[in-house]
């Protein structure tokens, strides 16, 4: 999976083959119990080139970005950055384990920022709410209602003032061929 390594732009860690499989990352990870493969296993699988199994796993979509693995890794590998790289690769290739909510949520989030310069929680809801089970759905409605009653839910989508400049700035990073 050399593509994954080359997707790591500014990561300041060591290359993944330097992993000694000590398992400090998996032992430190608060989400490991819910992952198909632990971070240690994923690194081994990336190094062994087991691309299909890696892409079909939920592991990188379950990373909470807490960086506990990264700060503890004795080989100084930026494991969280690896998870980000796998997420980007997965969205780029449009390949991920069935039922993952992360990809659609991240894309909806990104689109909102690109369009308005700000995030706006209510507009993100359709990207995930329909994937929820009935019970989770009602928990969300209940939470949203309580927050609204306390005046904590935004009503109008905010946008930045210099939005035209902002969009031109983005086009210098991501050329969009005139598409909005």
């Amino acid at each position: 999976m050399r593509e994954v390594s080359s997707l790591l732009h500014a990561a300041d860690g060591n290359p993944f083959p330097m992993c000694v499989q000590c398992g400090t990352c998996s032992g430190s990870c608060p989400v490991a119990a819910y992952m198909d493969y632990t971070p240690r296993q994923i690194i081994a699988m990336v190094n062994a080139g087991l691309k299909d199994q890696v892409m079909e796993s939920n592991t990188f979509w379950y990373c909470a970005s807490c960086y506990q693995c990264t700060v503890r890794c004795p080989q100084d590998i930026s494991i969280t950055e690896l998870m980000y790289a796998l997420q980007r690769y997965s969205i780029w290739k449009n390949r991920y384990k069935e039922g993952m909510i992360g990809p659609a949520f991240s894309e909806a989030f990104a689109k909102t920022i690109v369009r308005t310069g700000r995030t706006f929680e209510p507009i993100l809801a359709p990207s995930y709410i329909f994937s929820f089970k009935m019970r989770e759905f009602f928990q969300e409605i209940q939470n949203a209602t309580e927050l609204m009653l306390k005046g904590r839910l935004p009503i109008l989508p905010p946008r930045i003032k210099r939005l035209d400049n902002f969009k031109r700035m983005i086009r210098r990073i991501l050329p969009m061929g005139g598409a909005e």
Binding site: H9, A10, D12, P30, V31, A33, Y34, N58, A64, S65, C66, Y67, Q68, T70, V71, D76, S78, T80, Y84, Q87, R88, I91, M100, G102, P103, F105, S106, E107, F109, A110, T112, I113, G117, R118, T119, F120, E121, E136, Q139, Q142, N143, E146, L147, K150, G151, R152, L153, P154, P158, I160, K161, R162, N165, F166, R168, M169, I170, R172, I173, L174
Partner: protein, 288 residues
């Protein structure tokens, strides 16, 4: 008088409005001037890094460049915003090619970031730059007898590696002591709240929140103090979901540390947004 540029971030506009108002009130009491960045944009949180890394850095660099124009160091109250700003500044300093590319894009908005602005988290600003002694000297209503779990969370501390406080920071505890409350030894104080997993991997996130609440209760906390809107929302708004999911009975108030500071400095509750929480803090605060 100390003066900082202030980047509130999207959550503080509404969802975490209490964090915003209590930050402003507390700063005023301590003689700290916060100058909100002009026309700031969303920092991209963690999710933008799932899409495009270069654009994620650029979004944050725009705010850094706006801050640099003020000539002040910048503070961020949200740990995700803080982490993004802190590391964007680091990476742009270490990698001139990256900086050049980003600054080329920033030109479109008449901006440039040269790397002279220091980035501080709001908690670090109060607990370290102002310091517990200064704060203690201004306390008029000490929070005697209130047992507070200092919840640092993740991104205020990590992924900084050269930071001596990465494995056992104490500055939050010192701040809590300075306002007259009692910091408990909270062994999960740096354990993750789950962040946006509450959306994307619900059951994992709920069990993480459950563990954090259980640990605080077991160690005798009356409430948990947070320094991040994401942590606050996960621990508070999903407490009821945790109770439904696991048959527990938690009712732990989750307040922003600035709300507690404000109380100790004599700011009226309403001005601190106390009353906007979903798990009421009144039973705990009534004893004061």
């Amino acid at each position: 008088m100390k003066e900082f540029a202030y980047f509130p971030g999207c959550s503080l506009e509404k969802l975490a409005i209490s964090y915003h108002t209590s930050t402003l009130e507390t700063s005023k009491k301590l003689g700290v001037k916060l100058k909100e960045l002009d026309d700031w944009n969303c920092c991209g949180s963690t999710t933008y890094f799932h899409i495009d890394e270069l654009l994620a850095y650029t979004l944050t660099a725009r705010n850094l460049a706006i801050a640099e124009k003020t000539g002040l160091n910048v503070v961020a109250p949200c740990s995700a915003c803080f982490k993004n700003m802190f590391f964007t500044a680091v990476h742009m300093k270490e990698d001139p090619d990256l900086a050049e590319h980003i600054n080329f894009a920033l030109e479109e908005d008449g901006l440039n970031f040269s790397g002279n602005t220091q980035v501080r988290h709001l908690l670090e600003m109060f607990a370290q730059d102002i310091g517990p002694d200064e704060i203690r000297s201004k306390v008029t209503h000490p929070l005697d007898g209130v047992k507070v779990a200092p919840y640092y969370g993740c991104q205020i501390l990590r992924p900084r590696k050269d930071h001596e406080e990465v494995e056992n920071p104490r500055y939050f505890e010192d701040l809590i002591s300075a306002i007259g409350a009692t910091p408990i030894e909270y062994s999960l104080k740096m354990r993750c709240c789950g962040g946006s997993l509450i959306i994307s991997s619900r059951i994992a996130a709920l069990s993480m929140v459950r563990n954090l609440l259980q640990c605080a209760v077991d160690q005798g906390a009356d409430m948990i103090a947070t320094a991040c809107p994401m942590c606050q929302v996960n621990l508070e708004c999903y407490q009821q979901s945790v109770n439904q999911e696991f048959g527990t009975n938690f009712a732990v108030p989750i307040l922003y540390f600035t709300q507690l500071m404000g109380l100790a400095l004599g700011v009226p509750k309403k001005k601190l947004g106390i009353g906007k929480e979903l798990v009421s803090a009144s039973p705990v605060l009534a004893a004061l």
